[in-house]
Structures are given as structure tokens and as C-alpha cells.
Amino acid sequence: MTTARPRLNRKVRLRLDRRTGRYMLLYPERGLELNETALEIARFCTGEWTVDDIVQHLARAFHDASLLEIKRDTRHFLDTLAERGLLQG
């Protein structure tokens, strides 16, 4: 799992929500609002980076969080994406 290279499905578009200043993932008929951590993860879902790479990036970006928390959040968010069919299969 940690060497997998997640990639957003081609139907997904990332855009800024100008009303809230947050980013959202859009796909047919739906949208998913992203918090700061989720946005960082989504940005790395290009197929080039492994889950380990993403965790390391987040650890650098968010000093306050423990590695354990970061791993858990990353796994949880990637599961959410997969569940909704938002990762390339």
C-alpha cells in the first residue's frame, strides 16, 4: 500500500471555492470540500508519488502533527477517495 502511487481519476477537477477560500474536488454531480491536509494529499495524487512520499511531504509541511497522525489521516483520506471512485483504478 505505502509504495502505491495514487492518482486522481480523470473525472476529478480540483478548484478553489471562491466563497470559502477552500479547495474542492469536483466530479459528476458531486463535490468534496477539502481541509488543508486533504488538499496537500490531493495535490500529490498525480501517479508520480508513493504514499510514503506523501506522508513525508506532509510531515515537512505540518510540523505540529505526529507521524502517526499523518499516516492515519493520509490513509483515511485515500480510502475516502477510493471509496468514491476518485482514484484511477
Partner: protein, 367 residues
């Protein structure tokens, strides 16, 4: 107005004209009485105003949106606004080249409707030869790598094909399958006796769809929309009146749903005269059923009022005669007996053919 009322999805009904004549069409019964369709520049301005108000999803629909020869410009304009643009279509009339242009201009997804897995049956329900072309179009969509939704409106004559419909969607590699039971309003209400399935039919189809949803999870999204005639409680129609959706019809009327203009005594405004923002916040029609002040009994004190907002206003009016009544599909509605009798009629006529009254009018003849 607070964030509770923010439009996320804009439904642009570009025309009421359509080469098909489906007996459950969501357009109003008197769709041929419309005035002129609004022009390209008005649509482009309206998209811009809607995006500024918070809209992120745009559905280009109709009628048949392909009949607008400015569809290219509308897609291009929507794409510049970063709207996630969905084309909702029968696929007719279309060429591969035009579809490729749409993609190049930024179209995000295509939804093609199918009436049945059997060619002659699909053509009978659509009221026009169309099945084979629809299959072609779905293949074009996939070959251009555009995300594809296959949509099927379910009713008594095709709900038994649920397994075959799922297989067809897999076969064309759809990203998403919408198995949506007809909403019994407009043409579908007129044809209710021919369309409403029995409880047994519905139960079987729902179980098949639930299995497929698990099996295909992560590969193809399978959406099954139950008819509210068989639910204990109503749907939160449009996620609540004037909360998440704006519909603009071909002549420019801005509405909370496809049929809101059929409710008597309500006033709706036209985007030719007022901005989308002004209409969203101040139009009396949009404000009529917002909040809780208007809620009837038994909704007023019901715990579900924050989930379903009293249900569908059009259903309330077209079944009970009062747009402000509790949606009669709710088992707590005093008018629920009318829904029960429609269900009981469905079980009596099950198996017996009932003729459709096809959607007709000069809109079709011109197309």
C-alpha cells in the same frame, strides 16, 4: 442571506425541443407555449453571475441541448469560469467531431440516457428510433476519454431489466450508472398508471442494484433512486427549496426546480430582467418555501423537517391541490391515501399493457 442558501448546481435547460418523446419527460406539459429561447450572450452572462454566487456544477440539459447550435460557445464560456460542466443528452443529433470539439473546449462529463437494453423496446419508450445511435455515442464518449454517466429512468416496463442495464453500463465502461425511478410529476404523473412499478418489482431491482454497487465499488458508481411513492418519508426534493439548486428554463425563468412555475400564486423572475444574485436572494418565488415559517402540520413539529424540508412542493400541489401541504408521499401526510391508491392500482394492472401518452407538441415537430 446566510450560507444555508448557496447554489452549488446550476441547471441550464437550453431548449424544450427534443427528438425523443419520452412519456416521463421532466419538461412541463405545456412546454410548447414558451416564448423565445434566451440567446447565447444572456446564457454566458447568467453563468458568470451564477459562478460568482457560488455555483460550481453546471448541467447543460433540455429538452435536447444538442439542438442549440451555440453549445460550443456555452461550453467554452463555462469552462473559462471553471464550472464543472456536464452535458445531459440523448446523444441525438451528434457527430464524433462535434463531441471532440466539446471536449477540446473543456466539457467535463457526458450523461447519456438509455430507455432499455432491447433496441425495439428502447425505441418504443423513447417514441423515436434512437437506441443504436445512443450506443455509438456512449462509445465515442469513452474513446475520447470523457467521463461517462449512463442514465436510465426506471418504470414498470424496464425495471425488470435492472441486471441487464448494469451489464450494459459495464460493457460501455461507464464511470457512473444512474438508475433513477421516474419522479411522478409532469408527463410522468400523466402516465403514472402506465409507469408506476409494483412494490415487488422495485424490491427486486433495488436488491440487484445494491449488489452491483458493492461489486463495482471504486470502479463504477451505481446510483439507485427509489420512487418516493414507495418510501415511508419524502425526499428532500432539490435538497430543499432554493437551498442548493437553480434551474433556468429555456425562456429565462429562474426556478428552484424544473416544474416550480406550475405552482399557482407564485411569482418567478426572468434572467433577462434581473441578475441571478438578485433573483436568488430576493425573488418572492425563491423565498416562498425557505425557512420553517411556511411549514404545515405535521411537518411543523416533525424531527425530519430539517432533513426533508417537507418534501416536494410540486408533488404536494399536483396531488393535493395545495403547494404548501406536506408532500403526500409522506406516510404522516393526511393525503397519503392518494399515494396508497396509486400503488394499489399499480399492483392491479401489473402485467397488463397500459399505453403511454407520449410527450407531444410543436417543439417536437420542429426538431
Amino acid at each position: 442571506m446566510n450560507g444555508e442558501y448557496r447554489p452549488y448546481t446550476f441547471i441550464a435547460e437550453l431548449t424544450y425541443q427534443c427528438p425523443l418523446r419520452c412519456p416521463y419527460c421532466s419538461n412541463p406539459l405545456d412546454y410548447t407555449h414558451q416564448r423565445d429561447e434566451i440567446d447565447t450572450d444572456t446564457w454566458l452572462r447568467v453563468f458568470q453571475e451564477a459562478e460568482a454566487l457560488g455555483v460550481v456544477q453546471l448541467n447543460l440539459t433540455g429538452g435536447e441541448p444538442l439542438l442549440r447550435n451555440d453549445l460550443e460557445r456555452l461550453i467554452e464560456g463555462a469552462s473559462k469560469l471553471e464550472l464543472y460542466t456536464n452535458l445531459i443528452t440523448s446523444g441525438i443529433p451528434l457527430t464524433f467531431e462535434r463531441l471532440a470539439r466539446f471536449r477540446a473546449l473543456g466539457l467535463n462529463s457526458v450523461q447519456v440516457s438509455i430507455q432499455s437494453t432491447k433496441p425495439t423496446e428502447s425505441d418504443r419508450i423513447a417514441g423515436a428510433p434512437s437506441f443504436h445511435r445512443k450506443l455509438d455515442v456512449m462509445q465515442w464518449v469513452r474513446s475520447l476519454d470523457i467521463p461517462l454517466t449512463m442514465n436510465v429512468v426506471l418504470h414498470r416496463d424496464n425495471i425488470g431489466e435492472t441486471a441487464a442495464l448494469i451489464a450494459l453500463a459495464e460493457n460501455v465502461s461507464a464511470d457512473r450508472l444512474e438508475l433513477a425511478n421516474a419522479q411522478y410529476l409532469g408527463w410522468a404523473l400523466r402516465n403514472r398508471a402506465a409507469l408506476l412499478p409494483t412494490r415487488e418489482q422495485l424490491g427486486r431491482a433495488r436488491a440487484i442494484a445494491a449488489d452491483a454497487r458493492e461489486r463495482l465499488r471504486g470502479r463504477m458508481e451505481v446510483v439507485f433512486v427509489t420512487p418516493d411513492y414507495y418510501s415511508a418519508f419524502p425526499k428532500s426534493c432539490m435538497d430543499g427549496w432554493g437551498r442548493r439548486f437553480i434551474v433556468v428554463n429555456p425562456e429565462g425563468l429562474a426556478l428552484p426546480c424544473h416544474l416550480a412555475q406550475t405552482l399557482p400564486g407564485l411569482h418567478f423572475d426572468n434572467v433577462r430582467q434581473r441578475s441571478v444574485e438578485d433573483i436568488w436572494h430576493h425573488s418572492s418565488g425563491f423565498n416562498q418555501f425557505r425557512g420553517e415559517g411556511w411549514l404545515p402540520d405535521p411537518c411543523r413539529t416533525c424531527d425530519r423537517r430539517t432533513k426533508d424540508f417537507g418534501g416536494c412542493r410540486c408533488q404536494a400541489f399536483h396531488v393535493t391541490g395545495n403547494a404548501g401541504a406536506t408532500d403526500p408521499t409522506c406516510s404522516l401526510s393526511p393525503a397519503h391515501g392518494r399515494i396508497e391508491s396509486a400503488r394499489s392500482q399499480a399492483s392491479h394492472v401489473a402485467g397488463a399493457p397500459v399505453l403511454f401518452e407520449y410527450r407531444t407538441g410543436r417543439g417536437f415537430a420542429r426538431a
